[in-house]
Amino acid sequence: MGFERFGSKSFTSQAKVAEFVDYLDKGELAYTKCRTCSQAYFPPRADCANCLGNDMEWKAIEGSGTIATFTHTMYAPTGFEAEAPYTIVVAEFGDIKVLGRMSKSVPVETLKVGMPVKVEIVKLPDGQVTYEFLPA
């Protein structure tokens, strides 16, 4: 249990990596790293596809990344209509890529591929928790 609290609308309740949500509560966007073979995973995984192990440690994504690509969507799927328009971004933090939304406080016209961004944890009024990007 616990994963249903991720995002404005989650589609999953139970996950071995539900600790991801606990880290968000603590203000951290976390990934997992295999203690056996050092493979890092974001999104976090409970199981290592590289060595088949499951001894994972949690690490926080820190510092700033850069925008790899983005889009500003005028339309939203069912359940997200009230949130549109919004901007979806893939940002690169070293070898780790993270998909999320840009903060609505940032005008989309100012965004560019390669622009530095940082992660901000967002606690929503209904108890859900997520993250978004801000200019770094």
């Binding site: 999104p43 889009t71 979806i88 998909l99």
Partner: protein, 384 residues
């Protein structure tokens, strides 16, 4: 160049908005046409492969229902689902069933009735065709993913919104000629450029429409094909590959690795190269998808796709005609039926029976069909 398996019959329903019939009746329209084309009876069919993304239907396990309605009991049937590439994945399954010797003749029936649900609900289902734990909670949707690929293509290669609009203008010029297409009006460059935004930089005319439709491909072993078909079209090569569903696992956003790998495999198997292809059907659910296909298939070097369309090389009279049936952009995109429709166009081309869109003397054709935003890639090469 292997010639072990052939297509002996093709059929397609009209692709429409709001089909006034049930899924079984929709499937039958394509089946009837393909069976009449192959001039065989249900007794000749060894198995069926039904291709659909069944989350659009109330009907559970639709293969059973469809096989019954087509009169294909008691032969075995299988449901194949790879979202938008379902029916070319079905073709791959049928190829294996035939090549293994299990069956001589296999029907591949793709269908989708998307109008059973609203467009927003459809986007929600398609959005869940991504990683539901780590992507869908952000309200992702298909055009957003392809838009992010467009943005990256623009960034790396200087591609422009006008380059993408030119692809829609081409598609529409052929959609006008296709009686089975859902969108049959011409689109001018100005119209495409001035259309409202969907997911930047993609605008309304950069996107295909949902549709209801069915396609049917009848395949046979080479021996059987020679016995019963006057104009078999052979499968010379086929390739299939996957890439991580979650786009953060991808190595690039300016192309689709699954398409590149599937193309390489198909070319190697067929013993031909991009320069040998006379006519191609590529998965243009969005204009950027066709642009990336030019490059994945080797019709252009990476980043040189825009030159192909600027120089009209992918028109019927060009160096490599692409989507001269109007593509998904004109035909509409009934998920499970799409790949089979692409195959049908290529088969008609190679039989020299494509009518107004015939590429003169076409001998080798290619189909490129993508599932999701590059999760599944299928490339198939056909020859006479």
């Amino acid at each position: 160049m292997p010639k072990d398996v052939a297509v002996i019959g093709v059929g397609q329903s009209a692709f429409v908005r709001g089909y006034q019939g049930s899924i079984r009746e929709l499937a039958f329209e394509a089946f009837r046409e393909a069976m009449q084309d192959a001039a065989i009876s249900v007794k000749d069919v060894g198995a069926s492969v039904v291709c659909s993304a069944p989350e659009y239907d109330k009907q559970r396990t639709p293969s059973g229902l469809i096989a019954e309605y087509l009169g294909l009991n008691p032969q075995p049937t299988f449901l194949v689902e790879n979202v938008c590439s379902s029916s070319t994945s079905g073709l791959r399954v049928a190829y294996s069933l035939i090549k293994s010797g299990l069956h001589d003749v296999v029907v591949v029936l793709g269908f989708q009735k998307m109008s059973e649900i609203t467009s927003a609900d459809s986007q929600e289902r398609m959005g869940r065709g991504a990683d539901i734990m780590f992507e869908s909670p952000f309200g992702t949707l298909m055009p957003a993913y392809y838009a992010m690929h467009a943005r990256r293509h623009f960034h790396e290669y200087g591609t422009t919104e006008e380059d993408l609009a030119l692809i829609r203008v081409k598609a529409a010029s052929y959609g006008v000629l296709n009686e089975k297409a859902v969108y049959r009006k011409p689109v001018t460059l100005e119209q495409a450029m001035e259309a409202g935004p969907v997911c930047s930089p993609l605008k309304v005319f950069d996107c295909c429409a949902n549709a209801d439709g069915a396609s049917c491909i009848i395949m046979a072993s080479a021996d059987k094909a020679k016995e019963i078909s006057k104009e078999p079209v052979y499968i010379l090569g086929l390739g299939a590959a996957t890439a991580p569903m979650n786009v953060t696992g991808r190595t690039t956003f300016s192309g689709l690795d699954c398409a590149r790998l599937a193309a390489k495999e198909a070319y190697e198997m067929a013993g031909v190269g991009p320069q040998d292809i006379d006519v191609a059907e590529v998965h243009d659910c969005f204009t950027i998808a066709e642009m990336m296909a030019y490059e994945a298939l080797g019709f252009a070097e990476p980043g040189k796709g825009p030159e192909l369309i600027r120089n009209r090389e992918t028109y019927k009279e060009g160096k490599i005609p692409v989507n001269v049936d109007g593509g998904l952009l004109s035909k509409g995109h009934p998920i499970g039926a799409t790949g089979g429709s692409q195959v049908r166009t290529i088969v008609l081309q190679l039989r020299d029976k494509a009518g107004a869109i015939q590429v003169p003397g076409a001998e080798i054709g290619l189909v490129h069909n993508i599932g999701g935003v590059g999760i599944y890639g299928n490339v198939i090469i056909f020859g006479r």
